[in-house]
């Protein structure tokens, strides 16, 4: 146990006394955690730049954009259609495009559609957009739904008020109807008391018939006689006869008269008198009935008036009910699902959705190139620094730039081989992307150069190979963590974000994504490409400066490393 402790103690002593190792081993992870902690320790709203495209910037659209701006989202408005916005997603200028209709007011049962254009390859960003913008959108949807419901409630209230008013009218109508009913009942009772019974006497109508027949016969005879007289040239006898006949006729007529107007009771006169009496009775009854009828008519007039008024009131009620119906029908949104979800969202990916490999391929490529370039750059510099031939190289008539460049070229060759292998393998999986491969190779080449130089700088700055490799891995990890691959850089604090946006990893990955996923031409990404190339040149200059600055240090270090006695002498 003691031995174990002694060995452990010795190891710790060696580690701590090797300052750079201690610094890296102990402080590098702490530094890494500190940097990441500081970077992501924020409650700030995700720094999303949201493109809003609408046919025109109506109040509804502006209200929506204001809602987003209140949440500190950067809103970029596109009035020229959605295409420029989509291009800006591809270039990374905006994170999502929201395509809005002119108005968010729901006018029928069709919900309004809002299209979210997103880059499906940035999976973590899609989640962030859904989380952040989706909540604002839900809020807006809730508002619209609330407006619709309020509209319906307003109409119901209006109808209710109208119905209250109609209730009075209906009560009045009810009274009038009751009154009319009473009047009708009264008229009915009056009419019930009306006695119109009339019993006809049992007259012998045969007398009249006989008389009538005799008179007819007389009349006929007289008429015949009269006719005969006129036709013939009658003698006296004839004339006498005729006269006799006429006399007989006359007698018959007289008899008839007696029958009609005689002293007997069964004469026509008597009958007429009876009739007159009966008629008088009847007239009396009828008069009585007439009075009743008049009374009823008067009552019925009242009833008619009441009914007329009722009809008018009913007409009014019908009219009012029509109005209520109109009010109720005035809401064109009648479907519950439209009221509950008046806005419909649709997520539209801006690129064809391939496999996950398609999405991750640019990141993977950059990741591989970054780590390999960092490690190679560091390793080769360390190999050269720790090479036994370091001193001999010093005496060679070779400029240090040439040495540095040779290390870079060595890396480059290895990088090219690596890229060729990766792309070669990728050909089997990403058959649709052949055309992009030359540009991809160019970007990887530049990225490899940048990270090679970073690796070389680390190599020049650290003494031991292990420490330098650890430093380069730490550097790579830091770049990875703040690249947006694991966590979106939009979640970083604004200060850190502005620094992180300069991360060559971020720039390179963005370039590769545009080329590989969106098939953008090189001409559209030249600016970022120039930045990346500038990084490479700048880092090369930094290496030259470091090499010049640390040259004497390297010489001293070499002497210490290769001449232990010298070191002992120095200690003395």
């Amino acid at each position: 146990m003691n031995t174990l402790w002694l060995l452990t103690k010795k190891n710790l002593q060696i580690l701590i006394r090797a300052k750079s190792s201690a610094l890296i081993v102990i402080f590098a992870p702490l530094l890494l955690i500190l940097l990441l902690g500081l970077s992501y320790n924020t409650h700030e709203q995700y720094a999303l730049r949201i493109g809003v495209s609408a046919p025109s910037l109506t109040n509804d659209v502006l209200a929506f954009t204001n809602l987003l701006e209140e949440q500190n989202f950067t809103v970029i408005k596109y009035e020229q259609g959605v295409d420029p916005c989509l291009l800006d997603i591809k270039s990374g200028y905006v994170h999502t495009c929201i395509e809005l209709p002119t108005s968010l007011t729901i006018e029928d049962n069709n919900p309004k559609e809002i299209i979210f254009h997103i880059d499906p390859t940035r999976i973590n960003l899609v989640w962030m957009i859904q989380q952040s913008v989706g909540s604002k959108f839900s809020l807006r949807e809730q508002e619209v739904s609330q407006q619709l419901t309020q509209s319906i409630l307003d109409r119901i209230n209006q109808s209710s008020t109208s119905l209250m008013q109609e209730s009075t009218q209906i009560n009045l109508l009810k009274d009038k109807t009751t009154s009319a009913s009473s009047s009708a009942q009264h008229a009915q009772q009056s009419l019930k008391t009306l006695d119109l019974t009339f019993t006809p006497p049992a007259h012998d109508l045969q007398v009249i018939d006989n008389t009538k027949a005799q008179l007819v016969a007389s009349a006929s005879a007289i008429a015949q006689a009269s006719t005969e007289v006129t036709k013939f040239n009658l003698t006296g006898a004839q004339r006498i006869k005729i006269n006799t006949l006429l006399t007989e006729a006359n007698t018959a007529v007289n008899t008839s008269i007696d029958l009609i107007d005689g002293s007997q009771t069964s004469t026509i006169r008597g009958l007429i008198e009876i009739f007159q009496q009966d008629l008088a009775n009847a007239t009396q009854k009828m008069n009585s009935a007439s009075l009743k009828v008049q009374d009823s008519a008067s009552t019925l007039d009242d009833t008619k008036t009441s009914i007329q008024e009722t009809t008018d009131s009913l007409q009014t009620v019908v009219g009012d009910l029509d109005k209520i119906q109109q009010v109720l029908n005035s809401g064109k949104v009648t479907q519950a699902n439209t009221i509950a979800a008046p806005l419909r969202t649709r997520i539209e990916p801006i690129s064809s959705q391939g496999t996950y490999l398609n999405s991750l391929f640019p990141s993977i490529l950059i990741l591989v190139v970054m780590f390999s370039s960092l490690a190679l750059g560091t390793t080769l510099v360390m190999i050269e620094k720790n090479s036994p031939a370091f001193m001999r190289n010093f005496f060679l008539p070779v400029h240090k730039v040439t040495f540095i460049t040779s290390i870079y070229f060595t890396n480059l060759i290895l990088n090219i081989i690596q890229i060729a292998i990766i792309l070669g393998i990728a050909l089997f999986f990403l058959t649709d992307s052949y055309a992009a491969f030359p540009a991809v190779a160019l970007i990887l080449f530049i990225t490899g150069s940048v990270f090679t130089f970073v690796g070389m700088i680390i190599g020049y700055m650290f003494n031991s190979e292990e420490t330098a490799i650890l430093a380069s891995i730490s550097m790579g990890s830091l770049s990875l963590f703040v690249s947006g691959i694991l966590l979106p850089i939009e979640a970083l604090s604004s200060t850190v974000r502005s620094i992180v946006s300069l991360n060559p990893f971020v720039i390179a990955e963005k370039l590769l994504r545009e080329i590989f996923i969106f098939s953008s031409p090189l001409s559209s990404i030249w600016f970022d490409l120039v930045i990346l190339i500038s990084y490479a040149l700048l880092l090369f200059l930094v290496i030259l400066l470091i090499e010049s600055f640390f040259h004497q240090h390297l010489v001293d270090r070499f002497m210490r490393h290769h001449h232990p006695k010298h070191k002992e002498g120095e200690k003395k």
Binding site: P388, R392, P397, M559, H563, H566
Partner: protein, 312 residues
Amino acid sequence: MEFIQAQGVSKEYAKKAVLRDVNLQIEEGDMLGIIGQSGSGKTTLLNILSGFVEPTNGQVVYYSKVDQRPKDLHGNFSKIKQHIGFTPQHSSIYPKLSVKENILHFGQLYNIPKDTLIANAKALLQFTGLYNDKEKLAEQLSGGMRKRLDISCSLIHKPKLLFLDEPTANLDPVMEKEVLRLIQEVNKQGVTVIIASHHLENIENTCNKLAIIKEGKVQSYGDIDDVRKPFLKQNLTINIKTGKDKEKIIALVKKLPVSKIVDQGNQLVLYPSDDEKALAQLITRIKEEGLSMSDVDIHKPSLRDIFTKLTQ
């Protein structure tokens, strides 16, 4: 004539003086040995003289026959370094390259024309005895062979100055001798050689000039005999193995310029006050007197003696 001259050179590391006011001149064809204890500053001096390390104060002047005027070595190092070859203590070659590849690699970097380079390389390989092993990887060579390869790499561009730091360190005696022979051959070909070593005997047997350095200061510098001269009076002895004429010889010796006589029985140890005269007179007088002696041995002070004296 070309030469290299250190003028008041001093060097500090972390404010600690490693070298102090070093002045010396190395001329064309010289073979200078820098000796000193470990940590005395000899490697630092070698590195400063070679241009690898810049002095804190003073300067190293390089005089070229071509330019006919002295130049600051460090200020004009990029032009002068092609005349310099350097073989550090530890091999300064690429272990993963073969013998031939190492030589050709460094030769090519000196921009030597290909044909010349191949011829030079072949000659060097033969000269250093590595020709048969030219295809071997450097890491597969023995210590001595590796040292020879190192020297070959330092000579491929035919330098005028060859600096060697502990050239015989970690070599067995046979290899050591072989390497020293090689260095001498190189020197004979007109290359000025500067060696830093703590192998005093090797320096004594190989070099014509010597710089003894102690705690960063040159204690003695010059031709080996010149360095030795101040120590002869105190350290030169004449050892005579006497026979029956011992007493006569003692009597004779007392008449000579001898400061001290030590009788060791069969041998007399004489400390002459003047080395040259005493020895000559002694031999003449013994011959004249017809005295018998079995052996006369002159013991001059060795470099080790001088070094010990100077560095104590």
